[in-house]
């Protein structure tokens, strides 16, 4: 089920009403069971057959965690941990990477002069598999590390893995943060519910107005970059940077807002990443739930910052490359991850690293020239990486980049068709700039009520008149 569909418009209020009714009449267990049922319904709406997959991996993780906790024998504990790892990563590997490895092996054999007769399977990638397997893995790893107690209640656990707002595209919640919320009675809190609605509204605006309106331009430019001048290619990538941001962070906003309506708190996933002053800051603001997952479960186990400088750099490169591979079975994603790792190296090598924690121009309205240059440079670096992310192959990405520098770079009068996309993009950046110290751009609870309501109504009107109602999928569903 898509958030941007009419079915969801019926689903959400219905589930909301029954959920809070159950809180009064039937209690916590019934409420959690209800969350589980509606989450499976939400997921099964897309393809019910893959419910078996999510159920299977959840049961394995649930059992593994109990066995790990119940045993003092390190070998048994390791075996059950391995069981969970193999199940989750095996599923991910099969559904997401099988054909990639087979094709890559065939390509390699051909390069070496062998004729390879390979076969590949027509495998459908189950929506959200990368998200829920990572979420479930965080649970067994935390139990293994004795940082979290295993839950004896399978309903709570299944509901945690499949919690519908964030099931298919995150945020990838840590078990330690989300699972305990299923143990206690959730209270309906007016302020949180209201802010949840605001965040959902902003998420819908980003998805329907910005992402879906930029998408056709991006597709047109990337489909045949050879026929466009350099500036159009730059524009195409700027549009893609904003498209993927609005698509993905829009989903996260809807998920976080939706969860708040049900009394749950999900982690922040995006924090205005394009206002970052360096790549390190960018990665603390972009897809935070995944970045921190890789930090906690890949980078730190590899040695983190406790090892030599050289090892740190290698660890960082490994983490970023793996993170790129997580996005999909294509060399373009690997290069994208590698490039981002590369960008970070100068920062890691500096002795006195400045970690930008506060948002740019904190407490001020306008940005300083030095900060502006830093933000622009960082954005430029991310743009180069996005070219690889968006292109069909590494070769195509290189051609695209080369195309930017060919003649002509600028063609007078050739950009008229992008006017509305540019206005929309500018509108987004202005709104987010003024609200960059908040959780999301519509966090305006301190404003007087008439002004607030006027703003909401304007946002709804903009969605109605500019939004794309074709129920287009979110980009990150494919990951």
């Amino acid at each position: 089920m898509l958030f941007n569909s009419l079915v969801f418009a019926v689903f959400l209020p219905t589930v909301f009403a029954i959920y809070w009714l159950l809180d009064r009449k039937a209690g916590l267990r019934a409420q959690n069971f209800f969350v589980l049922v509606v989450s499976y319904l939400f997921y099964g709406w897309w393809d019910w057959r893959f419910l078996v997959l999510i159920l299977f991996s959840s049961v394995i993780d649930f059992t593994s965690a109990l066995k790990i906790e119940g045993s003092k024998d390190p070998l048994t504990r390791k075996r059950w941990m391995a069981m969970s790892l193999i199940t989750n990563l095996g599923m991910l590997g099969f559904f997401k990477y099988f054909n990639f490895f087979v094709d890559s092996a065939a390509d390699l054999l051909e390069v070496m002069g062998f004729q390879a007769n390979v076969w590949s399977l027509r495998i459908i990638l189950p929506v959200g598999i990368s998200f829920y397997t990572f979420q479930a893995l965080s649970y067994t790893i935390d139990v293994y590390r004795r940082e979290l107690k295993a839950t004896p209640n399978i309903v709570d656990f299944l509901a945690f893995v499949s919690f519908f707002p964030q099931l298919v595209a995150g945020p990838i919640e840590r078990a330690a943060a989300l699972l305990p919320q299923f143990y206690v009675r959730r209270k309906f809190e007016l302020d949180k519910a209201r802010d949840g609605m605001r965040q959902m509204l902003w998420g819908f605006a980003k998805k329907l107005v910005v992402a879906d309106n930029l998408a056709p331009h991006v597709q047109q430019i990337y489909n045949d970059p050879g026929q466009f001048d350099g500036l159009t290619l730059v524009l195409g990538t700027v549009f893609f940077a904003l498209q993927i941001y609005c698509d993905f962070s829009g989903y996260s906003d809807i998920a976080i807002g939706c969860a708040r309506l049900f009394g749950f708190k999900l982690m922040r996933n995006f924090a205005f990443p394009y206002f970052s002053r360096d790549i390190g800051e960018f990665w603390r603001r972009w897809h935070i739930s995944l970045s921190t997952w890789f930090r906690d479960y890949v980078y730190i186990p590899l040695g983190g910052n406790r090892v030599s400088k050289a090892r740190q750099l290698v660890n960082s490169m490994i983490t970023f490359t793996v993170s790129g591979f997580w996005h999909g079975a294509n060399w373009t994603f690997i290069v994208w991850g590698f490039l981002n790792g590369l960008y970070l190296l100068p920062q890691l090598m500096r002795k006195n690293r400045v970690k930008q924690s506060a948002v740019v121009a904190h407490g001020r309205l306008w940005i300083r020239p030095r900060e502006a240059v830093q933000v622009l440079l960082t954005f430029l670096l991310t743009l180069v990486a996005w070219v690889f992310f968006r292109s069909a192959s590494v070769g195509a990405a290189l051609e695209y980049l080369a195309g930017i520098f060919k003649d002509p770079f600028f063609t007078p009068g050739a950009y008229g068709s992008y006017t509305s996309a540019m206005v929309i993009s500018l509108g987004l950046l202005v709104a987010e700039w003024f609200q960059r110290e908040r959780q999301h751009a519509l966090e305006i609870q301190a404003w007087p009520m008439p002004v607030r309501w006027a703003v909401y109504q304007v946002v709804v009107l903009v969605i109605l008149t500019q939004g794309n109602f074709g129920s287009t999928e979110f980009i990150y569903f494919q990951f």
Partner: protein, 360 residues
């Protein structure tokens, strides 16, 4: 919780009020009169509850806005229609689908109006209904004969229309269609009655009309048509290859029936040109299956044809201007004027109506 629901409800009510106002004034939602079925002739037209005006709009910001006017007899036209016995001038009746219905241009720019301006002592009435099958023209022809007794009837043929006469290969329930009985004779399948249930009530809201018409949201009232135009064209072309003989036979039957049932009017067939192909640069040679079939029949019976293919082609070569709108293929004001020019040129050469009638 109650407070939350109350606030949401108040907010939604205010929002509905606001969007109703906005979609009635600032960005007028596309408005269209409701169809009704004439009980005698079984043809679709607009209900005859009186003269009405409105705006047909296209685009999310209603970028294209066209004035319409439903006249005293339930047709979109700038003038009221009078019956044959009250009329002094000669009459050209134009029948066809949405091109003749004319919601995609202001009624002043419609080719019927432009044609009237170019002719002397001649009235031009248009009788168009969106999605009309070629077979449905038989029913319209009966209505025209009885009510208006026109001197000329211009029958418009758009691309892909002939196939909708056949019930076997095309679903067109609100139109007359034909099927063959066991003996191979054509039998009429009368049109279904036009029924508007909840859709009519819903569309009274400008907001709902905006969502359906301007934003393309279906709200469960119909399926979303996401099939690319090129793919659709290919499908239609395929039908015209596999079922060409059947389409030819039924069209011949329809044309002959019209001639037989209305011997006093002279028929002129107006054929659209493949304008998109012109713009795409694939208009060579200009072959359109519908047009070729109809021309084959008119050649057999000696009918008069105004074929817009050549005119559109030469005009495109000269000026390169578009004949359609960015969002749909209907004729814009420029194309309507070209059609009126072609028809006016023809009528200036035709014999006077009294002679024309005796020729049948």
């Amino acid at each position: 919780m109650k407070f939350f629901i109350l606030r949401i409800s108040v907010f939604l009510l205010l929002l509905l009020l606001l969007v109703e106002v906005v979609f009635r004034t600032v960005i007028p939602a596309s408005d269209q009169p409701f169809y009704a079925q004439d009980s005698t002739y079984k043809i679709r037209m607009f209900d005859t509850t009186g003269v009405r005006y409105g705006y047909f709009t296209e685009g999310r910001l209603a970028e294209e806005r066209f004035k319409w006017r439903v006249n005293n007899r339930g047709w979109n036209a700038g003038i009221d229609y009078v019956n044959a016995d009250l009329r002094e001038s000669k009459l050209i009746a134009i029948t066809g689908d949405s091109y003749v219905e004319g919601f995609y241009v202001n009624w002043e720019d419609h080719f019927a109006n432009r044609l009237k301006e170019k002719l002397v002592n001649t009235d031009v009435y248009s009788f168009g209904v969106s999605g009309m099958s070629f077979a449905q023209y038989i029913l319209v022809n009966r209505y025209l004969r009885d009510q208006f007794s026109p001197d000329y009837i211009v029958v418009f043929l758009g691309s892909g229309r002939l196939r909708s006469s056949l019930a076997e290969i095309s679903s067109s329930p609100y139109n007359l269609q034909f099927a063959k009985d066991d003996n191979g004779h054509w039998i009429e399948k009368p049109p279904m009655k036009v029924v508007f249930g909840y859709g009519k009530i819903m569309r009274m809201s400008a907001f709902v009309r905006y969502l359906i018409k301007n934003a393309g949201v279906t709200l469960g009232l119909g399926a979303v048509d996401n099939e690319p135009v090129g793919k659709k064209r290919d499908k239609v072309k395929e039908i015209y290859i596999t079922d060409r003989q059947e389409i030819l036979d039924v069209t011949r039957h329809i044309v002959k029936t019209m001639y037989k049932e209305n011997p006093k009017s002279q028929f002129i067939f107006l054929i659209d040109g493949p304008r998109q192909e012109l713009i795409d640069g694939v208009f060579n040679p200009p072959s359109v299956p519908d047009a070729d079939i109809l021309k084959e029949i008119t050649n057999e019976i000696g009918g008069v044809v105004v074929d817009m293919r050549e005119r559109f082609n030469s005009e495109h070569i000269k000026y390169g201007k578009s004949f359609s709108f960015p969002r749909n293929y209907h004729w814009n004001a420029y194309a309507n004027d070209l059609v009126a020019q072609e028809l006016a040129a023809l009528f200036s050469q035709l014999p006077e109506p009294s002679k024309a009638r005796t020729s049948h």
